[in-house]
Structures are given as C-alpha cells and as structure tokens.
C-alpha cells in the first residue's frame, strides 16, 4: 500500500501544482530561517573538547574586593592573578596544569628585505599541548623542564610555518622574535577550535594564536598582556613590574586536568586549603568561593553564545510557526476540495486508518521536498549571514553546515509537515462516507 499511496500523493501534488509548490516553499523557507540561525548557534555553542570534558577544569579562586563582588551577586573572578597562577602551578597538584595569557611577538623573517610583522602569541606551559589534545604536524611541544628554565623555544601554527618555512619540517630551526633567537620545537597541524574554549575571556570567536612560547619566559621578559586585565586594588605606587606581578590584578587563565571524580575532589580540597592559607596572610578577603568548571560549564558560565542569536532563533521559530499555519490552511483547503474523493474511497471500503495513512504519506512527501529545499535555503541563509559579516573574517567558521544540521533540517521539515497535516487529516478522516456521493 505504501507505494500506492506514494503514487496517489504524486497525483495529488501534480493535480494542484501551485498549491503544492506554495506548501513546499512555505516549509522550506521556515526551515531555512530556523536552520540558518540554529546552525550558527550550534557552532557557537559547540564543545570542541567534548572527549575530555570530564577531565579538564578551569580554575577560579575569589581574591576580589570584600565590598564589591567581581560579578553580582557572588561571582568569582574569571581569571587569576600571577601570584595564584604561579603558586598553584608550582604546587603541581593536578595530573596536568597550565597557566597562560594572550600576548604578541614581532616576527623577524630571514633576509634583509623581509619586513618584520606582529603575530598573536600565547604564553603557556608544556602541559597545554597534551591537555587540550593539540595536534602536531612536526615535533612536539616543549618539555616541562623548559617551563622552569625559561628556554627560548617556540611552537608554530601550521599556517605560520607555511609562511616562514614554506611548510617544511622546521623543528630545530631558529626563529627571531623581538630580536631574540628561539628554537622551533614543534609545528601544529590545522587546529581551530570553535569556540576558542581555552580562553573565552578574550573573544571566544577568533583564531587561535600562531605562536606558543613558555609562560615563564614571557613573565621574565615582561611580555605585554593583550587580553583583559582587571584590578580591584591599585598596584603599589612606584613598584613597577614587580609590583604588578605581586598585585591582585587578574589576567591569567588557568586550567587543570584531573582524571577522575576523586582527583577533582582532592584538587578542590587543595584549592580551599590554599585560599585558607592565603587568608592568614591577609589576602582573599571574600568568603571561600572556588570553582572548577568543565569546558562546557565554563563556556555556559561566560555566556559564549551571543544573546542576539537566541533572540533571532526565537523569532525564526515563530517564523516557522507562521509557515506551518500557512501550510495547515492550505492542506485544509485541499482536503475540503477532495472531500468527494475521500467520501468515495470510504464507500469503496477504505477505513479511517487507511485514509489517515494516505494523507500522512502525502504530507510526508511535501515534508521531504520542503526539507530538501530547506537545506538549500539554509545554505543560502548562511551565505547571507557571511556576507553581512564580511568585515568579520572569523564568521566563515560559524556558518558551516555539517551533516547533523542537514539531517536535522530534513527531519524537522518532515515532522513539521506531518504536524501541519494532523488537523486537516483528522477532518478528512471524519468525512462521512455518504456525504458527498450525491453531490454533482
């Protein structure tokens, strides 16, 4: 019977080409609008480190103003001070740990004519690479010893390695940064986590750094912090760089890797003990307020997804509702027009269940067509968004449709079409067999 109903559906669609086209278009446009926004939201709310989500934790300790929380009502600061970053890192109580901040270096390519240029850099520690599963094309990150000895080692992104060394294996080669010689220890493979979860405080939707170098070296060399710095207490006057490092200003991201729940509990206990100890020294005037948040919790806490996207998604869903109301109306009109046909089929022995099947299959066909066209509409919608954001180059990474979105679009279209068909089909099935047979 399924194939019979497919045939009847085809005939019915062909008999009302304008109406059927209008229904398919309405569903496609509704799906297109919804899926365009949903795709962007899906990418923005993604978790690129899902596989280690239960092992990685962002560290928060509350060193803030006793009279004025970092964020009302009792939010802890979103970064840590150098004092705490250093003390917690040196304690080494986690399986892996990394402290890092956003900086930049001037790259001086070989050759007298080559102009130097600035590149984004991340000052970080050896564990950064294994913790975040960073893929390497050549070589590896530096070893933990280099974190101590302030070695001039550097890891390059794949793109920068292509620019500087033509994509060759540059491990062991020398690179001049701000007039200092660095040894290349590794080259990353393509790595572009969206969102940039390891540092959501400084624009989660930007490309990762192209240079990675030791944190201790950056501290010793007074590299600029290109990310946010927040202070609640002034740095001691005239104390210079030393004073800043000893201040209560926050500007460093700290992550730890803890392999299981008990390790997490142990680390939390350690953090609490650390803060209690610091309280005795006159720091941490606020109540104990330490947090270990997984990447997904951390991104949610920082509201990585722009509110505008949610507003648009809400309106797009209402848009789909309008399109479906439209489809319901058209299906109903069509059902009324076919009342005689329905009535006759009933007389010839079709049960309500059979009629229901017939109409649901026909609606499903409209849904499949609407879904397929909806995928195309979504593609155009995403291109539209991309062109609106032409000045924001990173947008291209937020408008990518994956197979899960394509599948969702088609499923949503079919479900919508079936949902829209419910009321008209119910009306159809309730047509009494005798009612239209004598009509001319």
């Amino acid at each position: 019977m399924f194939r019979y109903y497919l045939k009847l559906g085809t005939l019915s669609i062909r008999a009302n080409p304008m109406l059927s086209a209008l229904m398919v278009a309405a569903i496609a446009v509704g799906i297109g609008a919804c899926m365009t926004i949903f795709t962007v939201r899906h990418v923005m709310s993604g978790n690129p480190i899902e596989s280690k989500n239960d092992q990685l934790y962002h560290v928060q300790v509350d060193n803030w103003n006793p009279d004025d929380p970092y964020e009302e009502p009792d939010g802890a600061p979103v970064q840590v001070t150098y004092l705490d970053a250093k003390a917690l890192f040196d304690a080494g109580r986690a399986f892996r740990q990394t402290t890092s901040f956003k900086t930049s270096r001037v790259v001086q390519p070989d050759g007298d004519d080559a102009r130097p240029y600035q590149e984004d850099a991340r000052a970080t520690t050896a564990d950064f690479f294994p913790m975040f599963d960073v893929p390497f094309l050549y070589g590896a990150g530096w070893d933990r010893a280099s974190d101590e000895t302030q070695d001039h080692v550097v890891v390059l992104s794949r793109e920068l390695n292509e620019k500087l060394f033509g994509g060759e294996d540059s491990v062991g080669r020398t690179l001049m940064l701000n007039d200092e010689a660095y040894r290349v220890s590794g080259v990353l493979d393509t790595w572009n986590p969206v969102p940039k979860y390891y540092d959501v405080n400084n624009n989660p939707f930007e490309a990762p750094a192209r240079l990675f170098l030791p944190f201790s070296l950056a501290i010793a060399g007074s590299f600029d912090n290109n990310g946010n710095t927040s202070c609640w207490k002034p740095v001691e006057e005239g104390s210079g760089r030393e004073g800043f490092l000893a201040s209560e200003c926050i500007w460093i991201q700290m992550w730890v890797e803890l392999q299981n729940a008990s390790a997490r509990q142990d680390y939390m206990n350690f953090l609490n003990a650390y803060v209690e100890e610091q309280k005795l020294l006159g720091r941490f005037p606020r109540p104990l307020n330490n947090h270990l948040r997984t990447p997904s919790e951390w991104m949610k806490y920082n509201e990585v997804v722009d509110e505008d996207v949610d507003v648009l998604l809400g309106l797009a869903i209402l848009f789909l509702v309008v399109c479906l109301l439209n489809t319901i109306g058209l299906l109903l009109a069509k059902a009324m027009r076919r009342a005689k046909d329905t009535s006759l089929r009933r007389a010839l022995g079709a049960s309500r269940a059979e009629l229901f099947k017939q109409h649901v299959i026909e609606a499903g066909m409209i849904g499949v067509a609407g879904g397929a066209l909806g995928v195309v509409m979504t593609w155009f919608g995403l291109r539209g968004i991309e062109s609106i954001f032409i000045e924001y180059e990173f947008m291209q990474h937020l408008v990518r449709m994956d197979w899960s979105m394509v599948t969702l679009a088609v499923v949503l279209a079919i479900v919508s079409a079936l949902g829209a068909a419910l009321y008209p089909t119910w009306r159809t099935c309730n047509i009494t067999p005798a009612s239209y047979l004598r009509l001319q």
Binding site: L348, A353, L437, R438
Partner: protein, 233 residues
C-alpha cells in the same frame, strides 16, 4: 441476506429533528433484484446509505449476511463495504485523475490483493462491461454511459454479494440507460443480489420486486398507488 428490523434514523441539528426512517423493516433474500421507489424526501436514500454501511442507524437492528452490523467498528464496517458491497452512483463518482484501470483498482487496493490478482480482476471486469480497449483512458474521455459501465466494473471487480445502485441511469439518455439496465439484469442472473433506488417507475418495473417507501417507512400499497403519488408529488 439483508434483514432490517424497526430501523430508525434521526438527523439532529440545533433546532430541527428530522426522522428520515421510522421503524423501517425489510428483508431481502439472496439473489433478489429489488427496486426501491418513493417520492423525494421519503427516506429511500437514507435507506440506501444505511444498507450500504455509509451511515449509522439511530435505532433498530440490521443484519447483513447474518452479521449484526451495529456492533462493528469503523475498520470492520469498511471491510464489509469493501468485500460484500458494490456501489453504483447516479453521478458515477469516478476519480478524474485516475485512468479506467486505476479507478477499478481502488477498492481492490483496500482489499489487499496482490498485483497479479488485481490485474486479473480489473481486466476481467472491464472486459465484462465491454470497455477492454479503453483501460488507459481517463474518465473525461468517455461518454456518460461508458463512465457508468466503468463504475459498474469497479463495483463488480471485488465480486460482491450485494450491488447497491442509486439512480444508476439518472444521468443517462434512454438508450444508454437501457443498456446499463440490461447489464444489471445480467449480473443479477449470475447470482448477485441487487438493490436499486430510483424514482422512475419504468426502471422499477425491471426489478423482480418493488418496495415503495413513504415517510420513512415501507408502504404496503401496490404499484398503482405510486402512479398517483408521483402525479401528486
């Protein structure tokens, strides 16, 4: 075969209550050719709808082929219509988008026959009504008489025990009407029970038994009385 006892049918709207059938009783035996006549509004169409399971009855008992119809659910009623009853309508009621072959196919699809069985039956019944060369035509390409023959083929393809005809010649000229009636007589001779609703006395005479309906009840009066009633109405 068909046994109606004290059947009533009441149509209710917010303000009006219409008694279309009152205490209607009728027995039709297997193999009969019965005509049902009566003035407009007498209830003959309601009788046909109830006999054909197109409508529910309000009160009374209806047995078809020994089965109590009032106890059946929608699916079972649909099955009975499909297997035991064939319908022929005044306005033919062919599906305009489907060709002759597919029109006759409709009830067989709901019957659940396999493709070979359907094909055999469709071809056989279309041959029988003399339209074997027109199977791929659409209804609009046929004359009224031919369309009614297709409708008869559709009614017969499932080999029903009962044929219910509602003014089968109402839209046909007399020559075509005669040939359709000849076809019905032939079918009846082959063993199919036929009940035909009509207001034309000439047609009623072709049946072996005549039922006259008035005010929702079977009238005991003889045919000469319907002449008077027809003249009056």
């Amino acid at each position: 075969m068909l046994n109606m006892k004290n059947v009533s049918k009441v149509y209710r709207t917010d303000t009006v209550e219409t008694h279309a059938l009152r205490e209607f009783s009728l027995i039709v035996e297997e193999g009969e050719f019965v005509s049902v006549t009566g003035p407009s509004g007498s209830g003959k169409t309601t009788f046909l709808n109830i006999a054909g399971l197109l409508e529910d009855l309000t009160d009374g008992a209806y047995e078809l082929d020994g089965r109590d119809i009032s106890k059946l659910n929608d699916k079972e009623r649909s099955r009975v219509r499909n297997e035991k009853i064939g319908f022929i309508f005044q306005s033919f009621n062919l599906i305009p988008e489907l060709n002759i072959f597919d029109n006759v196919d409709v009830p067989l699809r709901y019957r659940g026959f396999n493709a070979d069985e359907r094909k055999r039956r469709i071809e056989q019944s279309i041959e029988m009504v003399g339209l074997g060369s027109r199977m791929q035509h659409l209804p609009a390409q046929l004359s009224g008489g031919q369309q009614q023959r297709v409708a008869i083929a559709r009614a017969l393809a499932g080999e029903p025990r009962f044929l219910l005809a509602d003014e089968p010649t109402g839209n046909l000229d007399s020559q075509m009407a005669d040939s359709v009636l000849d076809l019905l007589a032939e079918i009846n001779a082959a063993g199919t029970t036929i009940i035909m609703v009509t207001h034309e006395l000439g047609l009623a005479d072709r049946a072996r038994r005549n039922i006259f309906v008035r005010d929702g009840q079977v009238s005991d009066n003889a045919p000469e009385l319907h002449l008077a009633s027809m003249a009056a109405g």
